[in-house]
Subunit: 217 residues, 8 copies
Amino acid sequence: MPNFTWDSERNARTGIAEAVFCSGKCLADIQAIIAYHIEQKTPALLTRLDTQVWSALPAEQQDKLDYDPVSRTALLEFTPPAELKSGIAIVAAGTSDLRVAQEAARTLLFNGFAAPMYLDIGVAGLWRLMDQLEAIRQHKIIIAVAGMEGAIFSVLGGLLKAPIIAAPSAIGYGISEGGTTALHSALASCAPGVMAVNIDNGFGAACSAVKIMNQFS
Amino acid sequence: MPNFTWDSERNARTGIAEAVFCSGKCLADIQAIIAYHIEQKTPALLTRLDTQVWSALPAEQQDKLDYDPVSRTALLEFTPPAELKSGIAIVAAGTSDLRVAQEAARTLLFNGFAAPMYLDIGVAGLWRLMDQLEAIRQHKIIIAVAGMEGAIFSVLGGLLKAPIIAAPSAIGYGISEGGTTALHSALASCAPGVMAVNIDNGFGAACSAVKIMNQFS
Amino acid sequence: MPNFTWDSERNARTGIAEAVFCSGKCLADIQAIIAYHIEQKTPALLTRLDTQVWSALPAEQQDKLDYDPVSRTALLEFTPPAELKSGIAIVAAGTSDLRVAQEAARTLLFNGFAAPMYLDIGVAGLWRLMDQLEAIRQHKIIIAVAGMEGAIFSVLGGLLKAPIIAAPSAIGYGISEGGTTALHSALASCAPGVMAVNIDNGFGAACSAVKIMNQFS
Amino acid sequence: MPNFTWDSERNARTGIAEAVFCSGKCLADIQAIIAYHIEQKTPALLTRLDTQVWSALPAEQQDKLDYDPVSRTALLEFTPPAELKSGIAIVAAGTSDLRVAQEAARTLLFNGFAAPMYLDIGVAGLWRLMDQLEAIRQHKIIIAVAGMEGAIFSVLGGLLKAPIIAAPSAIGYGISEGGTTALHSALASCAPGVMAVNIDNGFGAACSAVKIMNQFS
Amino acid sequence: MPNFTWDSERNARTGIAEAVFCSGKCLADIQAIIAYHIEQKTPALLTRLDTQVWSALPAEQQDKLDYDPVSRTALLEFTPPAELKSGIAIVAAGTSDLRVAQEAARTLLFNGFAAPMYLDIGVAGLWRLMDQLEAIRQHKIIIAVAGMEGAIFSVLGGLLKAPIIAAPSAIGYGISEGGTTALHSALASCAPGVMAVNIDNGFGAACSAVKIMNQFS
Amino acid sequence: MPNFTWDSERNARTGIAEAVFCSGKCLADIQAIIAYHIEQKTPALLTRLDTQVWSALPAEQQDKLDYDPVSRTALLEFTPPAELKSGIAIVAAGTSDLRVAQEAARTLLFNGFAAPMYLDIGVAGLWRLMDQLEAIRQHKIIIAVAGMEGAIFSVLGGLLKAPIIAAPSAIGYGISEGGTTALHSALASCAPGVMAVNIDNGFGAACSAVKIMNQFS
Amino acid sequence: MPNFTWDSERNARTGIAEAVFCSGKCLADIQAIIAYHIEQKTPALLTRLDTQVWSALPAEQQDKLDYDPVSRTALLEFTPPAELKSGIAIVAAGTSDLRVAQEAARTLLFNGFAAPMYLDIGVAGLWRLMDQLEAIRQHKIIIAVAGMEGAIFSVLGGLLKAPIIAAPSAIGYGISEGGTTALHSALASCAPGVMAVNIDNGFGAACSAVKIMNQFS
Amino acid sequence: MPNFTWDSERNARTGIAEAVFCSGKCLADIQAIIAYHIEQKTPALLTRLDTQVWSALPAEQQDKLDYDPVSRTALLEFTPPAELKSGIAIVAAGTSDLRVAQEAARTLLFNGFAAPMYLDIGVAGLWRLMDQLEAIRQHKIIIAVAGMEGAIFSVLGGLLKAPIIAAPSAIGYGISEGGTTALHSALASCAPGVMAVNIDNGFGAACSAVKIMNQFS
């Protein structure tokens, strides 16, 4: 008997379908969860599914998974709706932050949203932001991803009417290793309207954005 | 000449009127800011205005200030609109968290929102939450305030469709002194849809909620 | 001559048989300890015995070990008593916490106790806890295992008469990496009757529970 | 209307009567809570009631409070039962730890237990412990209080069959300021059967001990 | 005999006259140092001279001191040269950072430099920076002072040819209390050419700027 | 389409050509960046290019890269000018610090500077420093690299007129693991004129030195 | 009955007479301890006796105490021997470190040692150290006191045959506030023969030196 | 030309021969250092020489090295004197601490000392210490090695006249991972005469002991 119970009612209760956090789970448990979803034909989002764990899955399970190695996410028994919803944009400071930005994008997709991604919008090159500012302004909610010193969170918060969901990325070294500096920058922002989720938590940033959007649709 | 320039256009740009963060400012600068607003008849919100600083202000300035010692906020040249907007609720884990909950409430008022406050909604007494759950569910956005271990953030996130803006409170001692444990609990929450602002940042939680509401009105 | 002396009297003195903490010990020392126990026919519990160390042991020693890779524990020269004692339950927030929950269960077994395990009892899905609450209530002492934000410790402490021994698990990332957030949540719990052991210390949680049970039998 | 609701059913549910954590509460709220209890004639334990707050209470409330400045606790509308229960001992490393030890003793009293206190049982003078060892051994559960390096937790854990509830005390300076070193020593103890509560949490240590005792009576 | 020896040759050796760090020194020692300088007619800069210490000095010493309470600095036996050197600018994020900015300005003055100060140049109001950018660009070296999240360090580093000496200010609360977040932002800056001195070290920032200028004059 | 936009105007704006921080970027993105530069014939500096990533590049790209495994840097489409500029020296405490010192040297080269390197100038052997002091004194700016306790930063600051750019190195273990102790020593230096960049940030130290030199040429 | 037992045999056992750590003890307990010593005519050393506590003692107790406010120590019923032993020197980086250096000197005196004190021996002024080097070299053991970055510990360790007992001092601000940077510098020293005691622990440094000296006399 | 200079005069100056800290050095540099010593026939101690680095050395260099994988030390061109000096003992809490204890023993040997090693002297089994106490008491100086909570440092300090040099070992997990808890326990010890070196610094503990012994011979 597999070591899990599926929270099929979570969607009804919170508006967010339950996802499977694969980190720390043994291969057997992950396989059992996948088999359950295939059998039940219920869609699932798997996060933190490392490439080596994915590679160890049986081929017939791999075939069923839409796997993305950059974000380490997999979609299972999932067909996106014909029309995706809009209103959310993802802004990432550098290409090194793609891991997190992509996890957010995939989670949004799983919840029925298409979100344009604005890359390389760092503070060291402010004009790149200025070039895209009008396009970014068209969205209701901004998910911002940045590592290092995370200065972009405050800059965006000071320029936009949209609330900023800051997803700090564990890109950095020395004093900023692990993403704490970027997280603290988001929390200590002198610009109002900046909220933070955990470091590397693209999934959580997307869920928060979805919950907001769903409250007003 | 006073040491400040007033950002009168911030409202237009970000939808949030600039507030005056009084902590670290000397008395003379605070007085100059107040005088400027009285002269210009522009409304202002002063935060982190400690009681002893307030007491040191000249009586004619005190008279103009609607001061609340619990939240250490003052409203200046401000008349609330005839009809306040709704959609935001404040949930606080204990009466010790009133400082922060009240700062959020006053900031909401300054931005035109009335927000009911649900107090003493702690995890050690879960049925209190259950008693109020239906009432809390009627709101679009929840500002949750808690110190100690901050378990209420996850409990609310798991029970509600509304996004949770967690405002950790610096209530605690030993390992939770200063509010870090509550903050970390919000960030590490296993329930999706929980976002955090800085410890004791009732002002920032309210601004985030206002920015969200304004995007959809 | 092996680099160790066996504390055969510890059982008499503290009621807990000495275990072998294998982490940091070189292979030769671990082999010597195993050989000693086989020779003396004295039962032993080995903890933190990594799979690769276990694999490097000679086959004849492997045969003598009842090894569990999830908890990294091995039982040696041990036959459980015909009738196991009861009174202790293990509650784990997610399947990712099995490593720790299983270490506790195996330590309990080695000390003569059978403990039912309640899995996937997280705060994001409170009704799962509610479903099992009556069953959990039948036990004298609860060992609770959780990573992330560890909110379940407080929820259990507020609902049960039983004391909670919190064993935080190093499941998490970003701000909760390494288990500190879960540990701090246990220590800062606003619910009385929550005690903590070190992160990932399923062994210590079980020893504490055994010591309590033994005092009253 | 006072800012609180009283959890009168907590006793029924968890076996521990709710206490009032006064830290962070404003004077008006504390007064309202006291008045409520006097009116309802329900016993209450107030913790973290600083001497200056106590001094600011109206004389008629002070008269009703059995206040102890060392532990900063007050008993209200409380008459101890004719016969107090036994089974718990308090061991404190130094007289500087009295604050915490006394908070534990008063909480035990409020829950119907009398607990002998063994003072000055530090590691630097091991024979003091040896002198008292036989007396200490007569108790089912030991609450141990120590600051500095907290070595006594491990020494007791290695010598006794009783479980040790370690209550680290914020006595120390430099690297041990705030009690973290003592707390970490308890958590990292190489002796099995040591559990920890938060720094300075004599109240929590006592509640845990009471919950254990109540499970077996 | 006073507890000090004066390093009169430091100026010759490092190009920076020795200053007196008053924090932690007892009143008697500070008085002796002042008396020595008055007697020797050698100029001195006193830093971290708290107002209450200054108030406790004998009136005849106070008269000799050019004391500034905001920066807690005093100049003694010092006459600025007829013509002050230029090339250094001070940029401060908010008026709360004046303490540090002023310490830098006074140290520059003591070393023969006049530095214009640009205040309220925060990231939440980027256009204020843009308004002053041309003026700021005229200087060889920029001393930047900011607390909170310190995003301005990176913004300046990305816009200017001048090296940025970041002096983080201990303005903030919660996660940014004590200035660590601002310091880490400076160190982790994604813009090249940002160097940091210790939190609140306006003195050190100024000395570094002076050493640079002196190398090229 | 590659996931990047090249900041070709950065040089004009800040005087420093943009470099490519390879850490966290996937192989495909790094290849695209290299291809772009080869095509455009624009010089580039790649930093944090790990040997295993370099080995995975196609041979024709490897041939175009001047790669140095010690500093993990690569120069691309770069021909040093006939005459390199001088004025900067690099002082390293031990050979273990070569990684960082070399990253600084290569960055200086890419910006047109030749910098002599003084190795093994530690505090435990002060006479080695004394032997080289006159030679070191001939430079305008000193980049100092040290791990462990970083005492050399203060010693140099007290002996030289040149400003010291401290680049702490992540050499150490136990309490100094990761370089924080060396960084803190630089920041807390009692010698004026010491500025710090992030741990292991030889690139940033060099950029700061270049920006200074360029301001005065 | 006073809350203490006197460890009169400690001297016999460890060679160090027990001292009274007054921090955290209530006035009544301190008075009882003093009274006991006066009655028994046994010498005592009181440490961490704050001036305000000392001022609150009855005049007849004050008269019996040889109190030093800088080190916050008091000697009681103590007459120094006619001839004090030598072999230990105290080196302090600045006059701000006197608090700690003096605590060491008074503890040495109480144990029969006279120790010369070398003040203002900081790294920023290396020649002061050089001037005194020959004198310092005459001692068997060096107690070194420094705050800030504590570079002097390594410099002394590299120049002397004597072992260095580093007593870090809580002098500093920002990143070095509380003395941690100085402590870490001592522990991470690249010079062999440097040992550390806790921050501000002049008492412990002296006891260690005395224990060493006593082993060889 | 190799990247190093050999400090052949260190022995004369500090009484301790220079050792080679191999961590962070590249293979080529280590080979050059070994070749230099073979050529010069000067003895050397190599520390932190990982087994894989040692394996990569040319066979003719391996033959010249007396290598010990447990302590990762190698002796080169070294013949111990006919008669080794005594006076120092090594006490280790568990066999997991052998790495550090052995590094100390090998460093002592290189400096001409033989030191008996007392293993498995932990606090959880106090009688083991008592059994060996008389033997341990015969030594002038004790090097104590322990990880976890490091309680043995205080126990030894309270029982012995000898000074204790505490070498914390990075054995532990969760809150004690990396050895910080053991280090803090040594520093915060309530027993006088305990000094600490860095975590895992068996080399430094031995050098300190040698420096002490040499001062008195």
